[in-house]
Symmetry: C2
Subunit: 220 residues, 2 copies
DNA sequence: TATTGTTGTTAGACTTATCTAAACTTTTAT
DNA sequence: ATAAAAGTTTAGATAAGTCTAACAACAATA
C-alpha cells in the first residue's frame, strides 16, 4: 500500500488550494480543478480518507486532516522552491516554470529541496509572490489586497499574483509588469470596473476587472 | 497509447547499459538488472517492440532499434546531466546523486536539461567519469582500461568507475580516492589478483580484484 | 411539498505495470 | 541422443488511476 504517489500529492495540493479559495471544497470543484471526472475524484477521496489525510462523509464537503495538511504543505513547499530555483538559478522566465515544478515536486528527497532552499537563501516567496512554506511547514500569511479594490488616485505596489496561468504571465510580460512595480490608479470605469493605471512612467493603460482582481498589491 | 513513461525509459536505459556489458542482452539479465520478474520484463519488451524501440523475437536476445537507442541515449544524457548538476551546482556528494537523478531523468522538458548542460559548461563526463551524450545524441567513446590489467610498477590515473553503487562510492570516499588520482601499482598477489597500490603519497593499501576491476584508468 | 435540476455515487470497464504458478523451449551435460 | 537444467512464455491475478453510463441524493423553486 504505497502511502504517497504523484497523483495523491496532486490531489492534496488541489484540496489545499481550494480550501483557501472556497468556503466548501466540493467534489466537483476538485474534479474540475484537476481535470478528472467526478467518479475519479470520488474514488481518490476514498483512498485519501483511508490514509487519514482527508475528512469526508458521503455528499459532504471535503477537508484536509492535520496530517493531510502537513503533506499538502510539504508539496506546496517543494513546488514553490522548484519554481524559485528554476527562475533564480537556472534562468527561466516565471511563465515557464510551473509545469516543470509540477513534476519536480514529486521527487522523493527532502535533502534535494532543503538544498535548493539553502542555495536560494531561504526565500519567503516564489516567483509569483506566493509564500514558500518553511521546512517546519510554517506558511507566511500575507494580507495583500486586490488592485480592483484600490481607489482612484491611490498608489500601490504589485506584490503577488492571484493566478499564475501562462497566459496571464505572458500578458504581464508584454506589459512590462513585474513584482515590485508601483502602480497608480488614474480612473475607474463605472460600467465594467476596468481601471486606467500607470506605472514605470509610461503612458496610462487600461486593465479589465478580470486582470485587476488577480493583481495582489500593498498600498503605498 | 502513451509513447513513453518512466518505466519504459528505465527499460531502454537498462537495455542500453547491458548492450555495452554483454554480447547478448537476455530477458533474465534485463529482469535481474531492473529487479522485476521475468514475465514483467517479457511483457514490457512486447510493448517496446510495438513502439519499434527494440528488436525482438521469442526466445532470442534483445537489442535496441535506432529509434530505441536514440531514446535511451536521451535518458542517459538526462541522468548524467542531473548527477553532474547535483554535484557541481548543489553541493551533493557523488554517492548521493544517483537515486535523485533516477527520478529527475523522467522530467518532460528538454529545455530543463539543456539549461543544466549550459550552466555546467557542456561537461563531457558525469561525476563518476561516464560520458554525457551531447544534445545531438553523440556519446564520447572512451578507452580506459581496468586497474586490474595494469602491471606491477606502472603508474595510472583514475578516470572513471565501472560501477557507481553507493557502497563502492563510499569505499572510495573512505580511501580518499577520487577521479584524477594517480595510482602506482606496487605488487600483485598471484593467488587472488589483489593489488598493493599507493597514491597521494600515502602508505600502500591493498585492493581486491573486485575493486580493481571497477577502477577505470589511463596509463601515465 | 412536489418537481426538477445539480451534484455525487455506484457499477463496470480499461490501461499500465507488476506478480506467481505452470507450461514450454533452448541449452547443457551425460 | 536423451535427460536435466536453465531460461522464456503464457495464463491469470492484482493495484492504481482513469473513464462512461446509469442511478441516487440533495437543494432550489414553483
Ligand atoms: Mn506553480
Ligand atoms: Mn505535480
Ligand atoms: Mn547514476
Ligand atoms: Mn529512472
Amino acid at each position: 500500500m504505497p502511502m504517497s504517489s504523484p497523483a495523491k500529492e496532486n490531489y492534496l495540493k488541489a484540496i489545499y488550494a481550494l480550501s483557501n479559495e472556497l468556503e466548501n471544497v466540493t467534489l466537483s470543484k476538485l474534479s474540475e480543478r484537476l481535470r478528472v471526472s467526478n467518479p475519479t475524484a470520488n474514488s481518490m477521496i476514498k483512498s485519501l480518507k483511508e490514509l487519514n489525510w482527508v475528512n469526508y462523509e458521503k455528499y459532504r464537503p471535503i477537508s484536509l486532516t492535520d496530517e493531510g495538511k502537513k503533506q499538502a504543505v510539504k508539496i506546496v513547499r517543494r513546488h514553490r522552491l522548484a519554481e524559485m530555483f528554476l527562475v533564480e538559478k537556472m534562468g527561466f522566465n516565471w511563465s515557464e516554470v510551473h509545469d516543470i515544478a509540477e513534476e519536480m515536486e514529486h521527487i522523493k528527497s527532502s535533502l534535494f529541496f532543503d538544498r535548493m532552499d539553502e542555495i536560494l537563501g531561504f526565500p519567503e516567496r516564489d516567483p509569483h509572490g506566493s509564500p514558500i512554506p518553511d521546512k517546519q511547514g510554517k506558511v507566511l500569511h500575507h494580507n495583500f489586497s486586490k488592485l480592483s479594490e484600490a481607489s482612484v488616485g491611490s498608489k500601490v505596489r504589485l506584490m503577488a499574483l492571484g493566478s499564475s496561468s501562462r497566459d496571464f504571465l505572458k500578458f504581464l510580460d508584454n506589459r512590462n509588469l513585474e513584482l515590485g512595480t508601483e502602480i497608480k490608479v488614474k480612473s475607474i470605469e463605472a460600467f465594467d470596473q476596468s481601471m486606467e493605471v500607470s506605472y514605470n512612467s509610461l503612458a496610462p493603460t487600461t486593465f479589465s476587472r478580470d486582470i485587476c482582481d488577480r493583481l495582489l498589491v500593498l498600498p503605498l
